[in-house]
Symmetry: C2
Subunit: 242 residues, 2 copies
Amino acid sequence: VRFSSQTTQDGVTERVFQLDGIPGVLWSGGGPSSGRVLLGHGGGAAHKLAPGLVARARRHVACGFTVAAIDAPEHGDQPRTEQDTRLLADIRRRHAAGEPVGPDIARRCADLAARAVPQWQAVLDALTDLDCVLAPGPVGYWGLSLGSALGVPLAAAEPRISAAVFGLAGGAILAQAAAGISIPLLFLLQWDDELIPRASGLALFDAFASRDKTLHANPGRHREVPPFETDSSERFFTRHLL
Amino acid sequence: VRFSSQTTQDGVTERVFQLDGIPGVLWSGGGPSSGRVLLGHGGGAAHKLAPGLVARARRHVACGFTVAAIDAPEHGDQPRTEQDTRLLADIRRRHAAGEPVGPDIARRCADLAARAVPQWQAVLDALTDLDCVLAPGPVGYWGLSLGSALGVPLAAAEPRISAAVFGLAGGAILAQAAAGISIPLLFLLQWDDELIPRASGLALFDAFASRDKTLHANPGRHREVPPFETDSSERFFTRHLL
């Protein structure tokens, strides 16, 4: 892990790092941390230092967690591949022409997930060795939308993830991965999501094998998750990780 | 209001009362209360002093609420009518014979609601005049299952109800009343409810006109709502009433 910057504000230290080309950031508090939370950002222009993600990270640190985020493949400081750039342009062109693009988006997400999962696992290995993070213990994952498209396959593959907040996602590929996940879950669904059909989100919640899973559904569109659900996520992680 | 008994334990005073034949109970704390919550018990053998309801009331008082419950018609200390006794026996007989009883139960609930709504309103009038309850202000209603079958029509008819927790309910009659309700809501649904079909519960949540409504769904049967949803209800009322 190579740290390139370190700033401390209101008791929260933010350290930007690179690990074998993976751009990441680590937030920690002054005291001992007894749990870790990984944050997976959303799609589009989002990245590991998007304002909403940073605010969430700082709140989690205040609760006693050490928090990490990385740029998803093709996002933030990760390199863009020509193949993905072409695929995105094709999706935009077909969407503008009124053609259905759901299957294309699902295929792209699956491709990004296949690259993101080993990156998250490498970061988890490296951070576990760092002084600032306590001995191996429970790890939570939070990620909506693209954060779930990558996080659900991660949780299915990685036994260190012991609780997760997912949501704003659906589709058969994720549902298949979900069937192999049995950790405690909080799943957020927007009742009027213009990107994820309601039935698809409900089916994904249904697909998780977890006995301890809770669906929180609120009115509104994809990006209109109400602020009080941030409190719900914090309480969920506190209940399961601390 | 005629009070028949008063006990104080751990700072919570419980007073059993009768108001024009309506049997009720009032819980209050030592300090000033700035919000009121009405509790509607479930069906079957439940009543205003069922242990779960008393425990919930005491927790709400600790949060700063004054809390009231009454026996639903045909429950607790309310008189049983011959008509309802016959109807119940008929429902049990047909259920045992494998016949569908959903419509009969819905009709019975509608009948109980028609009697319960004016009783709740009379209690609310009377309690507002009592010393122990502060000046008229926001009133919350909590009730699942039968508590929703009576509470949804109450909230539709009574403008003093300004936030409610409903759930474990469905059906066209309630959905029709729900369309006239626009207060903040928390709606609890059991994903494997053996009494309320999942689609019927989701349709009832969908039917509420409220812009601020949240669905919490958990795996398990009708009576298996997880204990942490009690915390959710408390936070919901604290957010909207205090």
